[in-house]
């Protein structure tokens, strides 16, 4: 097994390009570590990107909040810039597993996990985030996070590296709701991330992302349309939540919950999140 700890991004990209399909990126390795310790079939090269400083940074860059792929959930919960410019991400990060996991789980790992209810992925989806991806072949490219999430657990094509998540600076009223079986930390059964931009009492922009309601995190575009351009009220929120549940969500039965219950949770959590966001806006406006 070849092992590398490149100090710079370019080094890492060269290695990933050279070793192609047999290479894996180690970034915290909370999932990959146990997997590879079990069996390493098809993997002959490990590229540990922890030394690449820029991957750990949170900074403002070209009018967006740039969050390095190795930024941890704990960092996101504590960071001032995140609190100011991307509070939805911070809110989701705080619900994400116990402290031990939050200290090592990375935003890049979350996005590449393919989990339908990965907290940060759902929050990023509702934040209109972009994935900054680099490779030797194409150079730096920015892709909507939606595209990456839809690709599922297969991860990025070989040679590509997720370098950062870039989040637009748009002051919004946000909320994150999540439901699990137990009260302790657990992968969400269903989660809803909401980001609303108001003009007075009217909703200008609405972003609603659902976790655990489809094979991947999805935007509740039907619910969003029902809100935009209208006055926000409990009734409009309830109507939007119903659409989210009945039209935008496409859950399946699995051993953790039935599709019926997941749909119901979408409605309940969407309404709660929308009302939370509405209240936050009201408080801010007050």
């Amino acid at each position: 097994m070849r092992y590398f700890e490149p100090n710079f991004l370019d080094e890492a990209l060269v290695l990933l390009d050279r070793f192609g399909d047999g290479a894996r990126v180690l970034a915290g390795a909370t999932r990959l570590g146990p997997q590879l310790r079990e069996r390493t079939a098809g993997v002959d090269t490990l590229v540990n990107i922890k030394r690449i400083r820029e991957l750990h940074e949170i900074r403002l860059d070209r009018g967006m909040l740039n969050v390095g792929a190795l930024v941890t959930a704990q960092q996101l919960s504590d960071d001032e810039l995140v609190r100011t410019h991307a509070p939805l991400i911070g809110a989701a990060a705080m619900t994400m597993g116990a402290r031990q996991l939050r200290s090592v789980a990375t935003i890049g790992g979350n996005v590449c996990s393919g989990d339908a209810a990965a907290d940060l992925s759902v929050a990023l989806l509702a934040s209109d985030a972009l994935c900054a991806i680099s490779s030797i072949r194409r150079g730096p490219v920015e892709t909507p996070v939606e595209r990456i999430l839809q690709a599922g657990p297969s991860g990025l094509p070989s040679g590509d590296l997720l370098v950062a998540l870039r989040i637009p600076l748009r002051p919004a009223a946000i909320a994150y709701q999540k439901m699990t079986t137990r009260r302790g930390f657990e992968m969400a059964l269903v989660s809803v991330a909401v980001s609303l931009i108001f003009e007075a009492v009217e909703v200008r922009h609405a972003h609603i992302a659902l976790g655990g309601a489809a094979p991947t995190p999805v935007r509740a575009t039907g619910a969003e349309s029902a809100l935009v351009g209208r006055t926000f009220s409990r009734e409009s929120a309830a109507a939007a939540a119903l659409i989210a549940a009945n039209a935008d969500a496409t859950p399946s039965d699995d051993h953790r919950a039935s599709a019926l219950y997941r749909r119901h949770l979408v409605e309940v959590l969407a309404l709660r999140a929308l009302l939370d966001a509405g209240r936050a806006h009201g408080d801010a406006a007050a």
Partner: protein, 174 residues
């Protein structure tokens, strides 16, 4: 195989390890520090909690290569050099916040790291901080009581160290 330099409980250790080797495997099998336990191997029970830098982490998921040049505190390094128990350890013993003891090392380190960050927590903050440490024996109530009491003792003793346990003397750091 990758060379790493670890600082474990204040002592510098140099090893060569497989890049996929977990810190748990290194601590237990290579260094003989069996106080850190494997309860689930997947980061869900917290029995393997150790402190790396200032953070409580699951050693079963932490790669040894990622601990290179970092300070690691295991349960064996929490008490003072002369054997005096850390206030969290003392409180656990006095409140009988343990029965079988298997979750105890991880629970204690989790609590100690938390208190270093949040010296005056309320009960809900304590429960939140320890939610990654499973205990099947005690029902948690005695544990919460012990941590609460330890927080008072630490404050009364004026202990505000940001880092917990035996740290390496400055000169020995690479």
């Amino acid at each position: 195989m990758q060379p790493v330099t670890l600082c474990v409980n204040g002592e510098i250790v140099e090893l060569v390890v497989d890049p996929l080797r977990s810190l748990l495997q290194t601590l237990r099998d290579d260094l003989g520090l069996t106080g850190t336990k494997e309860g689930c191997g997947t980061g869900y029970c917290g029995a393997c909690t150790v402190i790396v830098g200032a953070h409580a982490v699951n050693a079963c998921l932490y790669l040894t290569v990622d601990a290179d040049r970092k300070d690691i505190i295991t349960i064996e390094g929490l008490a003072d050099e002369d054997g005096t128990l850390h206030p969290v350890q003392q409180a656990f013993a006095e409140h009988t916040a343990l029965q079988c003891g298997f979750c105890t090392p991880g629970m204690i380190l989790s609590a100690a790291a938390f208190l270093a960050e949040n010296p005056a927590p309320d009960e809900s903050e304590i429960r939140n901080a320890l939610a990654g440490n499973l205990c099947r024996c005690t029902g948690y109530q005695s544990i919460v009581r012990a941590v609460f009491d330890a927080s008072k003792r630490l404050r009364d003793a004026g202990r505000t160290e940001a880092r917990v346990g035996r740290q390496a003397p400055i000169r020995a750091r690479a």
